[in-house]
Amino acid sequence: MLRLHPFRYHRPGTVGEATELLANFGAEAMPIAGGTDLMPNMKHRLFTPGHLVSLNRIAALRGIHLDAAGARLRIGATETLADIASNPLVQQRLPALATAAGLVAGPQLRNMGTIGGNICLDTRCTYYNQTEFWRAALGYCLKKNGTVCHVTRVGKKCVAAHSADTPPVLIALGATLVLAGALGTREMAANDFFVADGIRNTRRAHGEVLAEIRIPLAGPRRRSAYRKLRQRGSIDFPLLSVAVVCDFDESGAVERIRGVVSALGARPRLLSGWDGIAVGSALDNGVIDALAERAHAQCRPLENAIVDAEWRRAMVPVQVRRALREVAVLPPKGVSAMRPAR
């Protein structure tokens, strides 16, 4: 039995009321939507807010629709992951996002969890996502209540892993996020939203609410893929995730390509050097191998998850190749034992 600490629960009907409550209660308040990340974390005493401000009764935070020009898809932040994964518009226009949303956790958690919550998911680490009793026995850790990082042992920087499935896809797609606060709203690129600090890895200010996700759409020559490595296909967080978005020209050559690798460090990594390798070429096996090698060189996971970091690193080029072959519409090569469950 894991009991919650005492708190007050607020159910505002508008974004303005929500941000006002958050501003009034200051550091004592936290927003909550699906609660699938925050509630277990509160049961572990990782957060003990005196006030929870629910976003679930705010109609303005819902909806999945095209903007007036038909150039962007707009998703309200409290749309559930289950609804996004099964939405025909998302499936047709942003299939990698539907895949990623459908691979988050298990069915009940996708029925509850929202895309906004997934984007704002707290970072995770073997030494952090534990009960109060467990963490106290170890003298706590750098991320919460302690001064020592048990992963790096010497480091003064928290290396808890960004563990959400939708942000790598959103970054690869060039999505922007709309944040609402007591002083107004602001919009920023998904790639700029995350910072490489495991203690708090987003630029969402305290009291701000993630309101909407805006995703630019492309024509039929864009292809995308998302792959997730995890222990159990039925429920787990990613040990490694890969998102790839590629635009092809009329001849079938790569016009623009973006790859994102995540679940290794505190923020998703937008891979560098890919355009130089692939633009102007067909996405054939040689180019795919070169891109995978380039990804491998940029990724150095630490022992922040229960699975061996060297093995996770060795899986980077494997998963990147599989994602690229999906995008290139090449048949899968070899045995695909870690094929994610759909």
Partner: protein
């Protein structure tokens, strides 16, 4: 203590609870509905699964206030009187329960799933029950039971 008003299995119920209670704690310790089980109590195992507005959710990580004004169904409300729900009946006929601790949650996941997907294949049944852990059965008899129940519900 505050009064929360819930519609549980078709009944309007009111109950005094501390403001930080979960839906599961309210069902079990406020309303005496102990069919929904407290397993891991942190959203991993699925034993606390109930149906809220037609969707299977985890009551152990649902703040009770989120269930106010919505329809809650628990294992106690799946059958009618002494008549079990076809999924419950097929669990019995197929030997799909052993210790039974996971069973109420699996029944709720299965019923919510079959109401939206009357003709699922076995893979879809497996995916729908992926959020419910069972340490006894090895799952095969559970899938058998849900498959049989789906056929019965279609014929009804």
């Amino acid at each position: 203590m505050e009064v929360v008003r819930l519609r549980v299995n078709g009944d309007e119920r009111a109950c005094g609870v501390p403001a930080h209670y979960t839906l599961l704690e309210t069902l079990r310790y406020g309303l005496g509905l102990t069919g929904s089980k407290q397993g891991c109590d942190k959203g991993d195992c699925g034993a606390c699964t109930v149906i809220v507005d037609g969707r299977a959710v985890l009551s152990c990580i649902t703040p009770v206030w989120e269930a106010e004004g919505r329809g809650v169904r628990t294992v106690e409300g799946l059958g009618r009187g002494t008549e079990p729900h076809p999924v419950q009946d097929e669990f019995d006929l197929n030997g799909a329960a052993q210790c039974g601790f996971c069973t109420p949650g699996i029944l709720c996941s299965a019923v919510a799933f079959l109401e939206r997907n009357p003709s699922p294949d076995r893979d879809r049944i497996r995916a729908a029950l992926a959020g419910n852990l069972c340490r006894c059965t090895g799952y095969e008899k559970i899938y058998d039971a849900v498959e049989a129940a789906a056929a019965r519900l279609r014929d009804r």
